[in-house]
């Protein structure tokens, strides 16, 4: 990551454009936390690019005083890949939505993740199509009644984290728009990751899907419904941190800490060789299980841009800087006199 010398404030990261989300939209908080985190880590604005697709969430780049590209629906990962390949020095962020990223853009998202190219991908999951006025999305719960599904949707939802893990993500995290501390933490970790960092952010669309994540944000109950993951630590949660998660065969179950030996609890290992543990965590769903927040997986692996630059360097080393006249004359030639 490139860092600039002058100390940066979140205000420096605000562009001159009026923010145009609905009042109360969760996007505001994500914007503020992103600006805070990027200021904290002292990014270089000139070397930072935000790329997005289309959707309410995809307006994000307009509000960041960095380079930005508000592209077309679903294709931000591909545009961002082009940016990163052209100039691997840049810090490239992708902002996408549950529709943008998992519906029309699923192919592009999949291939960005599997390439392990260093993009920081933030998927704002509000479980709805906001911009087009409230149709169900690939993450909407089955049976959802929306403008396009008056009798309830019939497609089972996609779990963004399981999807990312299934296609080989090296970094997978999850946070909540209004859970400022853990959101900042995940953003910071994503920023630091080499390779594709995939972050799902639960986001409230207060116009079309208000309180979709109430279970995870309601002051009174949220601590019973989510578990913050910490590397090397057992999964403990609940208001008084009296509950834990234990494995029963392959099935995780909630146990009362009182009756359970500490060693029995599932220990989080974000850098496990196999993604199977992270996958199992990603499958934990409210209401039967607490939903994991934080970093599910973070492993080192050579990045796409690194290998690309490596091949470029190898080619230059082996063949020298290309010589046009040599190029033209390759193969059989003959003279006409």
């Amino acid at each position: 990551m490139t860092t600039a010398s002058a100390p940066l404030t979140p205000k420096d990261l605000k562009s001159d454009q009026e923010v145009r989300w609905c009042p109360g939209c969760g996007d505001y908080s994500i914007l503020a936390q992103t600006q805070k985190v990027l200021a904290d880590i002292g990014i270089d604005r000139a070397n930072t690019v935000f790329v997005s697709g289309i959707g309410c969430s995809s307006r994000f780049p307009y509000y960041m005083n960095t380079y930005g590209f508000h592209s077309i629906h679903g294709r931000a990962p591909a545009i961002a890949t082009g940016v990163k390949c052209a100039n691997p020095q840049l810090d490239v962020w992708v902002v996408t939505g549950d529709g943008d990223g998992l519906s029309i853009g699923a192919g592009q998202l999949l291939h960005a993740i599997r390439r392990n190219i260093s993009l920081k991908i933030l998927l704002f999951n509000n479980r709805i199509y906001g911009l087009t006025k409230g149709q169900y999305s690939p993450t909407s719960e089955q049976g959802k009644r929306t403008a396009s599904t008056p009798l309830g949707s019939i497609d089972p939802p996609v779990n963004p984290l399981s999807f990312a893990l299934g296609v080989g993500a090296t970094f997978v995290g999850r946070a909540i728009d209004v859970d400022i501390k853990s959101l900042q933490l995940v953003l910071k970790r994503a920023a630091a990751h080499r390779g594709t960092a995939f972050v799902e952010i639960y986001q409230d669309c207060n116009v079309y899907n208000h309180k979709a994540f109430e279970f995870a944000t309601d002051r009174n109950t949220k601590e019973d419904h989510i578990v913050y993951l910490e590397h090397g630590k057992p999964l403990i949660f609940g208001k008084d941190r009296k509950k834990g998660v234990r494995l029963n065969g392959f099935t995780p179950e909630v146990v009362d800490l009182a009756g359970t030996p500490a060693d029995d609890l599932l220990i989080h290992d974000e850098s496990a060789h196999s993604p199977a543990l992270a996958f199992l965590l990603a499958q934990m769903k409210f209401p039967s299980m607490p939903e994991p927040m934080g970093v599910l997986r973070c492993v080192e692996s050579t990045t796409y841009e690194h290998m690309l630059e490596d091949q470029m360097a190898t080619a230059r080393r082996q063949s020298g800087a290309g010589d046009l006249d040599k190029l033209f004359s390759q193969g059989d030639t003959w003279e006409v006199e």
Binding site: N47, I72, A78, G82, R316, S319
Partner: protein, 617 residues
């Protein structure tokens, strides 16, 4: 019918100004190789050469079937030529299927060499021949030479210890040798090629050399051919030459353009016939600062190219019809964000999957008009394989100088066939360096220079941080705008910018007289057939000229004037009238069309027939 004559026949050598031959056989028979060797030898000898390879649609269609036939046609001449020839003077058919599918292109009285070993019942059945054509009179209009090529080949190499299969594999080289004799060509180049190709396997090398010589000697000694032919050297411009295919030329043109403007290439594409070869070519040139990305699909490919262009590289993508269709939404983004972007369409027969291995010019409308909204881009087409080189350079120059997507139209024929190319010197090309803005105090993302072009400010430049996107932009600032008048203004500005490119491109020239009875109009790969037809017609005394259009959008500013100076205008295109509509609509002249969609280039005779038709009135 003629079979191998046992009576000695007196041999003569006749001079010809040109000849067209075709090797045809099963796709496993090595016809492409024989064809390219003949091409190289003829080019080295000093002829002008033009070729037409034809592949089967299947990777490996079952041996002996009609679907599995592969062909390679060569026109070689002592004069300038522009086409691979309408019909062939000599056909080499390695099996019944090859005979069946190729015979109709042989001129009456033409030479037909067949590999009689393959004319057995099984193969005849696969070729759907009810009876053996070598045993009926259905070939009576040709000079038929039934040669047991496989037997001869195996015989020729028998003491080298090859397996039967290996031995028989040399039969393409045997037939090559035979044709070398027929057209009085030297063996040397091919022998050298064999030696270097099989440097690691001397046995195979020897076998191929023997086969080559055996074929040649059979022609010489078997005394079955009454004549052989000689085609003298052509008077070509002096210089160093090589053969080049259109796709190779495109790749080299892109690399050259990159050097000339000082910007690296990011080439992102998804494989598709007949465009994949550009990707294959470019993937070898990383030391020229070319990054190639095999994208997950065409949409990703064009988007990667756009992302790269935003970042200051030259984003290039290529595909054929169905893939281009998928790219159009993103090309619109390129238009709105006014970024340089090259989209190469190596056209193939459509609609839909169509006939992937066959050329056509049916994507002109798609390239010019096939997007949502008012969405103009520049469009340029390559006239021939070697012309792909300059076309690619021109496209990049206009893209970076006008901050616009540029469509490059090529086609399966132009992309895959080879022709001699006079090798230029890198130093001869004028650079067109790109200057990115750097001064924050004067920067506005959508301010324009006098040509109507916005600045290309790239990430990494301190102080120029800005945002672009696909929503309508406010003039000057580039902010989002839904203002009605601004939208009209921006639509006008984008259109005017493309029109301004006409200042940059040469005026339309005309070959032949500046006025006359018939103006033949061509674009892209139909250049050769039309130019040849024009020459022929003029020799016949007809008042015919030729206007080949390199730029399809914008048109050079004098096109309307040129058109008006002819009684009849005929637009020749491998489609059902796409440029014709554009020209008629723009200039309101009753332009006729010569149309063909058969997955094949025009024949010169077809163009000539049309000239006669319109001249008659």
């Amino acid at each position: 019918m003629t079979t191998i004559a046992t009576n000695p026949i007196e041999k003569r050598t006749e001079n010809r100004s040109s000849a067209t031959i075709r090797f045809a056989g099963d796709s496993g028979d090595g016809m492409q190789l024989a064809g390219s060797q003949f091409t190289n030898t003829s080019a080295l000898f000093g002829n002008d050469v033009s070729t037409l390879p034809e592949f089967p649609a299947e990777i490996r269609a079952p041996a002996g079937t009609l679907a599995g036939v592969s062909g390679f046609q060569i026109n070689f001449s002592s004069e300038d030529i522009f086409t691979p020839g309408d019909r062939v003077d000599a056909l080499i058919a390695m099996n019944p299927a090859a005979l069946k599918t190729n015979l109709r292109d042989l001129v009456e009285g033409g030479i037909l060499i067949v590999n009689s070993d393959e004319f057995n019942i099984a193969n005849l059945a696969k070729a759907k021949y009810p009876t053996n054509p070598l045993e009926t009179d259905e070939l009576s209009r040709y000079q038929v030479y039934a040669v047991p090529i496989a037997t001869h080949t195996v015989e020729a190499v028998k003491d080298l210890g090859l397996s039967a299969k290996e031995a028989e594999r040399c039969k393409n080289i045997y037939s090559l040798g035979l044709v070398y004799w027929l057209y009085d060509r030297p063996l040397e180049a091919t022998i050298n090629w064999i030696k270097s190709k099989f440097a690691k396997n001397d046995q195979i090398a020897q076998a191929n050399i023997r086969a080559l010589q055996a074929g040649f000697h059979f022609g010489e000694t078997a005394e079955i051919f009454p004549v052989r032919f000689r085609i003298e050297r052509a008077k070509l411009p002096t210089g160093k030459y090589r053969n080049i295919t259109g796709n190779q030329a495109t790749a080299m043109g892109l690399i050259t353009a990159s050097r000339l403007c000082g910007k690296p290439i990011v080439y992102a594409s998804y494989p598709i016939t007949p465009a994949s070869d550009i990707l294959h070519q470019l993937s070898h040139y990383k030391h020229f600062d070319v990054k190639t990305i095999q994208a997950e699909d065409e949409i990703a490919a064009v988007c990667m190219a756009i992302g790269a262009s935003f970042t200051g590289a030259i984003g290039v993508t290529a595909s054929a019809g169905p893939g281009i269709a998928l790219k159009q939404e993103a090309v619109g983004l390129g238009v709105m964000t006014e970024l340089p972007l090259i989209i190469i369409d190596v056209q193939r027969a459509g609609p839909s999957t169509g006939m992937p291995t066959k050329p056509e010019q049916t994507d002109l409308w798609q390239a010019m008009l096939g997007r949502n909204g008012e969405c103009p881009v520049a469009v340029v087409a390559a006239a021939s394989p070697s012309d792909c080189f300059q076309t690619a350079i021109d496209a990049v120059r206009i893209a970076v100088q006008y901050m616009t997507p540029v469509f490059v139209l090529s086609d399966g024929f132009t992309g895959n066939s080879a022709e001699p190319w006079r090798i230029p010197k890198a130093a001869d090309f004028a650079p067109f360096p790109v200057i990115h803005p750097a001064d924050p105090t004067v920067f506005q993302p959508y301010a324009r220079d006098e040509r109507g072009v916005r600045p290309w400010a790239i990430p990494g430049t301190p102080g120029l941080e800005h945002r672009i996107g696909g929503i309508e932009k406010a003039d000057i600032t580039g902010n989002i705008s839904y203002d009605p008048e601004n939208h009209q203004h921006m639509v006008n500005l984008r259109a005017a910018k493309i029109d301004n490119i006409a200042r940059e491109i040469p005026p339309q020239d005309v070959y032949g007289d500046a006025s006359g009875d018939v103006l033949l109009v061509s674009w892209g790969g139909t250049f050769g057939a039309v130019r040849t037809a024009c020459d022929t017609a003029r020799k016949r005394g007809q008042r015919v000229s030729h206007m080949h259009m390199r730029w399809l959008n914008p048109f050079p500013s004098n096109v309307g004037d040129v058109l008006k100076r002819f009684k009849h205008v005929v637009i020749c295109e491998l489609n059902m009238g796409q440029l014709q509509l554009l020209i008629r609509g723009r200039f309101l002249i009753n332009a006729h069309g010569l149309h063909k969609v058969q997955g094949r280039p025009f024949m010169v005779s077809e163009v000539l027939a049309k000239v006669d038709e319109v001249s008659r009135g």
